[in-house]
């Protein structure tokens, strides 16, 4: 059922982002030739090239702003607005609805970052003979990875850490919206206040956790190994996220008020 929900959320994501992603890639491709054109006088002048580069920057900004708005809107409208009449009457558990929105949010951010990197790659002018240099670079990277396989694990762990940060942020947003929804009036204002309150609470949690001697001992033990240190960091991020998500699921299944 989670996959089916995700399919629906991803379809909504695609409808909203396909245009902006293609615009970013298309503009990057155009910039690839105009940047090249600055060095060897081309059809497009330097001013136009600068303008196009600025336009690409604006598309990037719009893309990340739209991503943030999309994450908020998909949760608020989809589960706490009129669309909730459809979603909450589907034969699924509340946690599945929340998990689907969260996965979709993480995938949307990831896709936007991937599009940004791809756009930058497209923008850099390269020649075919550069490819041979690139293949040499990849060969060195692969040889290095073969000699030190733990490096790949580090990269993977660093990615999990980044995703954990994202999950914590999104789950805090979700809980703030769910708490704001418990009020009958001024729900947006209450959600904002809840977000600020949760931020303070989270900071206090980390401050108190650091002051706890058992935690300090555990941190020292984990720090003995770089991998365990990273996984410790991931756990510290995911623990409050799990609490936030559990609270959201509880509110949606026990205190839902779509009026």
């Amino acid at each position: 059922m989670l996959w089916k929900l995700l399919k629906y959320d991803l379809r909504a994501m695609w409808k909203q982002f396909s245009l902006i992603w293609f615009a970013a890639l298309a503009l990057a491709l155009v910039n690839r030739f105009t940047i090249d054109g600055r060095n060897s006088s081309s059809l497009i002048g330097e001013d136009t090239a600068g303008l196009l580069l600025m336009l690409l920057g604006m598309v990037f900004m719009a893309m990340f702003a739209t991503t943030a708005v999309f994450v908020i809107q998909r949760f608020y409208k989809g589960l706490l607005g009129d669309e909730g009449y459809l979603m909450h009457t589907l034969p699924v558990h509340a946690w599945q609805l929340v998990a689907s929105k969260l996965l979709c949010a993480v995938l949307t951010f990831t896709a936007s970052v991937a599009v940004s990197f791809l756009a930058m790659f497209l923008m850099v002018p390269f020649r075919w003979d550069d490819l041979s240099k690139l293949s040499g670079l990849f060969r060195i990277l692969l040889q290095g990875a073969a000699r030190h396989p733990s490096m790949l694990l580090f990269v993977l762990e660093a990615l999990v850490l980044l995703f954990s940060c994202l999950i914590l942020g999104v789950s805090m947003l979700y809980l703030a919206m769910a708490l704001g929804h418990l009020f009958h009036r001024r729900r947006a204002l209450m959600s904002t206040a809840a977000f600020l309150g949760l931020s303070v609470l989270l900071t206090q949690f980390y401050v108190r956790l650091n002051g706890w001697s058992a935690y300090r001992l555990l941190t020292r033990l984990l720090s003995a190994n770089d991998h365990t240190a990273l996984w410790g960091g991931i756990a510290v991020l995911l623990l409050p996220a799990a609490v936030f998500l559990a609270a959201v699921s509880w509110i949606l299944s026990n205190r839902l008020n779509l009026e």
Binding site: M1, K4, K7, Y8, R11, A12, K15, Q16, K77, G78, D82, E83, G84, Y85, L86, H88, T89, L90, P91, V92, H93, S253, N254, R255, L256, N257, L258
Partner: protein
């Protein structure tokens, strides 16, 4: 499988200090078309929302087909809310896909057929459809299922008399006859002829629950007249200066 489609014992729902349903004891059988009748604020929508799992009871128990309300009962309930629940980016066919994914009893081809007969183009964007057409799409989604329990919240409110007939005809020609249909409304005259049973709600309590034939026989009047008698309120007298 339970003998009753809907059962409740001491069902109570409060919103803050306000009590919407107060100790409701109810048993509704299978294969019935039941009218949930009462004035505004009598608890009709609250009862329907409890049945489809949008709300949780404050106290008491509620069962649909012998099971407490949850994902299993939601799979058997087809719910028509009193508002639009569409996302703007969708087309009717997107919703049909969604329903096919989640409800085993959803008949995709029947939904397309119903669209054709109702003059709805299923590939049009919902954003571009008129309010009436959107209502038709929502009706198609509900009636293209072979559900055990249909919960129709004010399906004929706010539409002209011709449209009311049309909606009722669509419901009557498409519902699963082994299932139960619960229609909430205060427009009694229009639905009286199709009802098997009537539940009169007043201030969150069941005032009367009887078959329509028995009510007509015992009371010697139409449901509409009975409704007017039960819920009559005297207008306040204004002071003339």
């Amino acid at each position: 499988m339970s003998d009753f489609m809907i059962e409740s014992w001491g069902l109570t729902k409060t919103y803050g200090w306000r009590t919407a349903l107060c100790g409701l004891d109810l048993a509704v059988g299978r294969g019935r078309i039941v009218g949930l009748l009462g004035p505004n604020g009598s608890g009709k929508t609250t009862l329907i929302k409890l049945l489809c799992g949008l709300l949780r009871p404050t106290s008491g128990q509620l069962a649909v087909n012998g099971m407490p309300v949850g994902p299993e009962t939601k799979a058997q309930v087809s719910y028509l809310p009193d508002r639009m629940y569409f996302a703007n980016w969708m087309r009717a066919v997107d919703l049909f896909d969604l329903f096919r994914d989640f409800y085993r009893d959803f008949d995709y081809n029947r939904a397309l057929e119903m669209c054709r007969s109702l003059g709805v183009e299923p590939k049009d964007r919902l954003k571009a459809m008129s309010k009436g057409t959107k209502e038709k799409v929502q009706l198609v989604l509900v009636m293209a299922r072979k559900a055990q329990l249909y919960l129709l919240d004010e399906p004929i409110a706010g539409v002209d008399p011709a449209a009311r007939d049309f909606i009722l005809r669509t419901i009557l020609t498409n519902y699963n006859e082994e299932g139960t249909v619960l229609i909430s409304t205060h427009l009694i005259t229009d639905i009286e002829k199709v009802l098997d049973e009537a539940i009169f709600l007043k201030e969150g309590k069941v005032l009367l629950h009887e078959t329509v034939d028995n009510l007509r026989e015992q009371e010697g009047k139409s449901l509409d007249d009975l409704f007017r008698e039960l819920f009559r309120t005297e207008p306040t007298k204004g002071e003339h200066l």
